[in-house]
Symmetry: C3
């Protein structure tokens, strides 16, 4: 299936009602912005119920979404994210259909809305949407039928809310109370939907202090309005933090003038053990993956016990299970069925 690109709504602040139903329950999951602390906590608690207490002790296959059809609607390739959604869905006994849609192609000339209508007419229950334009998931959520839920799996520079929630889950598991934490996010803040969603989530959960660290050219000028502190060097930025979140460097941005060379970037903003020592003794290190060793992070740090990079992947399944089961409202109804 191919679609003609559409003019997408700009991702302005989203009224909470877009994501919530009349009872205030999650219907779509598009952005962290505007969701309450209670709701984020419910997502974390639900994920906790799936994750089990020990590493690798995810619940066995459960029939929560049996008979439901989940559609991975990826307008931008991402094996890793698509796979975790697919695994999470199958773990809950849903059927999964994958559509990789090339927005450039117009072979069959169908509009995006006609594609959506057609997929809805196939008795599908959920669209997992990834798109390189900000606002795409929101646009789709605005147009879907009442029985369909939409999950944003990353839209342009705008948001990546399941990534942010799995990061919150990781922090809560290893650090407990957000109120006492100093969290630093390092890298290209400007282009990062991950950072944007993390900042909203950290704020909503009442994080003690949020810092962003990166070159001036890659930090949005208005970011302090979100209550974060801006640092342009690691020496000051990392001091006494509890959590360090490294962002993935998008190498394609190197081509333009925005970024220095990989080598220089690592020299200035790479996380090595020397810099890690600036943080608190028990500081944890996170990264959304896949990591560029020797660019954002040194191998010894990436592979150290302080690094929770692989746990993040693991927790990602539990978070996606939580978000899917909450939006489909099936946690309750499915219990009866089984």
């Amino acid at each position: 299936m191919s679609v003609v690109p559409v003019e997408l709504a700009p991702p302005g602040p989203l009224p909470a009602s877009t994501q919530l139903n009349a009872q205030g329950r999650l219907r779509h999951f598009l952005t962290i912005e505007g969701l309450s602390r209670e709701l984020l906590t419910e997502i974390l608690d639900t994920a906790e119920s799936f994750a089990g207490s020990a590493q690798g002790s995810l619940v066995k296959k459960v029939p929560l979404l049996r008979g439901k059809t989940i559609v991975n609607l990826f307008f931008e390739a991402s094996t890793r994210t698509r796979t975790t959604f697919e695994l999470a869905a199958k773990r809950m006994s849903a059927d999964v259909m994958n559509f990789n849609i090339n927005t450039a192609s117009t072979t069959k000339g169908e509009t995006l809305l006609d594609t959506l209508r057609t997929l809805e007419a196939m008795y599908t229950d959920m669209f997992i949407v990834r798109h390189n334009e900000s606002g795409a998931a929101q646009f789709i959520a605005h147009h879907v039928a009442p029985h369909v839920s939409v999950i944003n799996a990353g839209d342009g520079r705008h948001a990546h809310p399941t990534q942010a929630m799995l990061d919150m889950f990781t922090i809560r598991r290893h650090k407990q109370e957000f109120g006492k934490l100093r969290v630093a996010i390092v890298g290209d803040i400007m282009h990062s939907r991950v950072a944007r969603s993390q900042i909203h989530a950290l704020n909503t959960l009442g994080t003690g202090e949020i810092r962003v660290i990166g070159p001036q050219t890659l930090i949005p000028t208005d970011i302090e309005q979100l209550g974060v502190h801006v640092y342009q060097d690691m020496q000051h930025g990392l001091r006494d933090v509890d959590v360090i979140i490294m962002l993935r460097l998008q190498k394609e941005r190197m081509q333009g003038a925005l970024l220095p060379s990989e080598h220089e970037y690592y020299h200035l903003y790479g996380l090595n053990s020397e810099r890690l020592a600036l943080a608190r003794n028990d500081a944890i290190v996170m990264h959304p993956g896949p990591i560029n060793r020797g660019v954002e992070i040194s191998s010894d740090v990436a592979d150290s016990p302080r690094s929770l990079i692989l746990q993040q992947v693991t927790y990602g399944l539990a978070i996606r299970m939580a978000v899917m089961s909450l939006t489909l409202g099936s946690t309750q109804s499915a219990e009866k069925e089984t």
Copy 2:
């Protein structure tokens, strides 16, 4: 897997025995031609039992085809058709394997028959075949092992029987008795396997009057032998019809001399609300999709309550479930098992 193209049998009239077993039950589903009214009605009734009474009320997952393996054997790409077969199969708990076979490629040089034998040897139970050559599904049905059923998902210009049956299902749901209906099929009749299968189905179900409307160059000269009335203009052709079926325009045919420009085509044969007014007040509009807005149909008609285009997609699942369960003879046996 790749195959060397084979010389396919020409799709002449097919003896009913090719599709039926000794008890007169469906074994393969290759073409509407030669099937009895009772059998078509049984397919519609079976689909009805899956479809539920309300829109979107398809039966939940059922174990009818549990343990069966369905192979999508697509020699011609079609995401939409493949997806509906896959969803229908999974809804009945079958396992599905997708093979997109490039007939042009001869990388591994295996013959089509060897590929079939190999797939059969993998304990597969059904081949859903799509091929750009007329007669392909029939050829394959002729050669498969006794335990394998073949469904034609479109072969060249020849037949697309599940599409025709979902169209019949749509008509029956919304118009009841075929005997009293005037049905018009509009577009490139010549190259349309959909039109050919629809005409056979409408005839077998005893439709009052069947009309085809299109440019003279795109209507087969011998079509009146099938009992249809030919019109070359919409003004006369649409008058007082109960059902309008628009065909999809294959834009690639524009290149040759067969078709006028898109603009001219729409001018002559596009369905807009003015022309729709020629039909009966309660006439319904159908299209196999994906639609070309502003080519075959205007947006206001496509999106009007008279249009059943999305319902057709929905009913397509129920029809494919019916055909798969009937050919695999599992409706009865599976009941015991559960």
Copy 3:
């Protein structure tokens, strides 16, 4: 997902402990070499329990691997092998993820080990590995987490143990006792991982006599150390054998000087009915497929009742079910669960 190629360990003799756990049970299945006769027999017996007594009577869907996630990690394309693993896994109710990894691509620059760690972190239980470099599966097995099993689905020229075991299964089903058999393997022994694994399996199971037949340039000089007899012509090599295993000719080797033309190869080493008559009256003919008709084998022999080529495909499912269930140790635990 794409990976940077790694320097793989050379596939020297593998200590048995690499494939076995502390209790001497199969943990990985990487090569036949070093496994005991008892263990090979256990694999064959387990497969027998899945295969049923009649052709095509594989067990219905069983819940042995329910809740397990199997990853097809194919660095080298192979629809046929991937499909049989996928079907075998689904037959045991496992979830299956397919990854076709292009080793040439370095788009995202992730290392192989990081890819493995990430997949492990997604609660996956088994990697089915196919790679064009010898030792790849062994390298991966060496690095996976304790809860993950690795199955070698073919690595370079080294080994293809599930193919060899399905061949042993075929021989045992049709010939019973290995001790009394003369088995000839015909073709490009040098480059064949299949031949290498077959020879180890035949030796371990106590085969009476193993012969290899092929042009001198395609027979490793040290092969007699494995206890096989070398023949360079069919006339002597096939005399009085019970089993003839034809290897697939890799046509890409024709380009170099190693192989004569297809025509000449068939003239010298193709199996036709005249040559088959040199073997015992009840000799069986095998081939891993896909066959090149008129290159390795004549059509009349391939399609004769003496040919077990399609049965091999069938038995391949039972063998893969056996190996997967044995390595995941789930045969026992799953019984309780059901």
